[in-house]
């Protein structure tokens, strides 16, 4: 299930710190920076291809693309320790690719094939990997927040030193269950980091139209949970903030909130004409804040962006995505016998009782 080479690049600590824009932490090495570049590019190309397969009718239903938000999944992944769990909502392809799931399995799940990570029975919004400690993939807005806090409860119960990262959107931040979870997390000092991916919109509703307090990192104040705002378009800032938050949670101090300021370039899902914002607004972010361009600039500034290396990464990523698409197209649909499997874990209770 795990992908092996990709996604594990550049986790070593820096020697020969780079000139970067992130404050505080020692700068990344060339290898690390190239690793982030590669991971973000993989997500982007993967999502573009998913959009294309959707257009071809190979992917059905809802499909929420992560384009624009790549730095968050990649930056948090870089800050994770082995075994740390992650859980998110339905905009989940990016997290799965960075946490080590095989792009083929992810794409084949999108096309509803037996080779998919859920054997085609979950689809875009419901994918999991126990091996990668990726706990989904949830279609009910906000559900992942108590569930992720429950993962942290298990860590606390077992005293295993793991931290759970629960990702959710600015829209989800208005769900009551989020605050029920905040309360218990702080009350019991559970090791959980809440990562709010504030992309400014919940479907068509801009945050100003939905939220009385739009500084979402302050949403933990009445529970005593610290929070901070982070530039979610800067992978290094994300990584530094996630490391700090994870250290805090791991040391037994309780939960921490990170509000990642980000932006999604595409519509909410494939069928969203995105009339609630202007094309200029989208173009402006793309031109000035793009997370991949940002890393490319850093590479250039450090003289690490030699053409051959970047070309090789591009070609490699293209090939991974092309292979994933090919697999997702050719993997067969699940056998009809799969209809009644996995309803219960014990065969005796499996459906079909008279």
């Amino acid at each position: 299930m795990a992908r092996g080479q990709a996604g594990t690049t550049g986790r070593r600590k820096a020697n020969g710190a780079a000139d970067t824009s992130s404050k505080g932490a020692a700068g990344p090495t060339k290898e690390e920076l190239l690793g982030y570049y590669r991971e973000m590019l993989l997500i982007r190309r993967f999502e573009e291809r998913a959009g294309q397969l959707y257009g071809m009718g190979l992917i059905g239903g809802f499909c929420h693309l992560y384009i624009g938000q790549e730095a968050i999944a990649v930056g948090v992944e870089a800050a994770k320790k082995p075994g740390d769990e992650i859980i998110t909502g339905y905009r989940d392809h990016g997290h799965m690719l960075t946490c080590g799931m095989d792009p083929k399995e992810v794409m084949a799940e999108l096309t509803g094939r037996i080779g998919g990570s859920s054997k085609g029975k979950g689809g875009s919004m419901h994918m999991f990997s126990t091996e990668a400690a990726f706990y989904g993939g949830h279609g009910i807005v906000g559900a992942q927040v108590p569930l992720g806090t429950g993962l942290a409860l298990a860590n606390w119960y077992r005293e295993d030193g793991k931290v759970s990262f629960a990702f959710f959107g600015d829209g989800a931040a208005n769900q009551g269950q989020v605050y029920e979870a905040f309360n218990m997390a702080e009350l019991w000092k559970l090791p959980v980091v809440y990562v709010i991916e504030n992309n400014q919109y919940a479907m068509g509703t801009a945050i100003q139209r939905s939220s009385s307090e739009t500084r979402l990192h302050k949403r933990g104040v009445s529970f005593g949970i610290p929070g901070e705002e982070v530039d979610g378009m800067d992978v290094l800032a994300v990584k530094a903030a996630a490391e700090k938050a994870a250290d805090y949670a791991r040391s037994g101090k309780g939960p921490y909130i990170l509000e990642m300021k980000t932006y999604r370039y595409r519509g909410h899902s494939m069928s969203d004409p995105a009339k609630y914002r202007t094309r200029e607004e989208v173009d402006e972010v793309r031109k000035t804040r793009d997370p991949i361009d940002h890393v490319e600039e850093l590479l250039e500034k450090n003289g690490w962006a030699d053409e051959a290396t970047l070309k090789a990464i591009d070609a490699d990523v293209k090939k991974i995505v092309a292979d994933a698409a090919e697999f997702a197209r050719t993997s067969p649909e699940p056998d009809p016998s799969e209809l009644y499997t996995d309803v219960y874990t014990d065969v005796a209770a499996q459906g079909g009782r008279a």
Partner: protein
Amino acid sequence: MPALSPTMEEGTLAKWHVKVGDTVKSGDVIAEIETDKATMEVEAVDEGVVSAILVPEGSEEVKVNTPIARLGGEGGAAAASAPAPVEKPAVASEAAAGDPEKQPPEAAKPKPEGEGATPVTPKVELRDPELPEGVSLVKTTVRDALRDAMAEEMRADGDVFLMGEEVAQYQGAYKVSRGLLDEFGPKRVIDTPITEYGFAGLGVGAAMAGLKPIVEFMTFNFAMQAIDHIINSAAKTLYMSGGQIKASIVFRGPNGAAARVAAQHSQDYAAWYGHVPGLKVIAPYDAADAKGLLKAAIRDPNPVVFLEHEMLYGQEFDVPEGIDWVVPIGKAKVRREGTGVTLVAYSRMVGFCLQAAEELAKEGIEAEVVDLRTIRPMDIETVVESVKKTNRLVTVEEGWGPMGVGAEVAAKVTELAFDYLDAPPLRVHQEDVPLPYAANLEAMSMPSVERIVKAAKAVSYK
């Protein structure tokens, strides 16, 4: 023509934003398309030069998957490895156009009943454990039997813990968890805030991580705030993850009507949860079943909804002492044998049926009382066997009739033993109103021994 919504079959090419010879990058808007719902912008997926526009601006009813433009790759090699320039594979891959491989394989659609798609359920003979020689039966309340079940399982397995409102220091709102905090400490007997949706979610998350939580609801009426996690998170995730994510969790607490607590505090949820694949649903009557089934529920690797009854908590029954008493989930129990009429019930209504059977016996009707014990998976075989003997069926439940447990039992019996029935099945249930507070109206609303007797006589044409 890309599909731009889950339902789109064709579209209008409203406007081209590019012309032949233009260079495009991924993300550039290349066209506007009117779908069945809206006008959408189409973005390029790859970079390249537009080499042909195949569908002119203004074309209507263009079928999804029709090539609309051709895009030439910049570098020959790169273009060859990546199949598709613009939106369609057909565009780039002239060679592959019409390749049957491009279409999803035509998988056999699941066939209706009896054509092979129905699962083969291995027949396992479910039996209550034999009582070894010399085992003594001890009078125990349902309340203490439940507590003993939890304590024994917590002693045996460090992953089992209890959480809920007032379960620890207060010893349980109905004193079911009495003594557990002292024995197991605050980490394994956790007092939660009044936050059902939240703590049900935490419990399911902990179960996904491999722990075995027992989540107590003060009553199931309050679990409606948590039903989202019980159904959407606990019941469905195993399936949606292709078998990867298990949730061994028990949701338990009193269910059904107590006395004079009115509509919001008096509801039977057996039919609600019984409706959901992925859940097991248990509703025991006596103390031995309460203990044996709760132990089975805690050990079960699936999410289990365990419906207790406040009016039974204080009742005493024989419970085997000193043995690991585990009753199988999914097995009904014949509580009284008879040949005149089959009475099917669960939880508190089993007691009502046993009383009704005594009344009926005085009038010469020998009723057989089947205690379902498990609502899902339901042991309909035992019911059918009984009906084959009695030829008459009355179902009894505290919940409302429509779409209820009795409706399910009657439908199944009609399906499986139609030729054996000498009368249409009858259902006894709560009147179709929110449970009233006034004593007389409450009594009128609830199923009673009298109503069961009346129904049994009606199906016996007496």
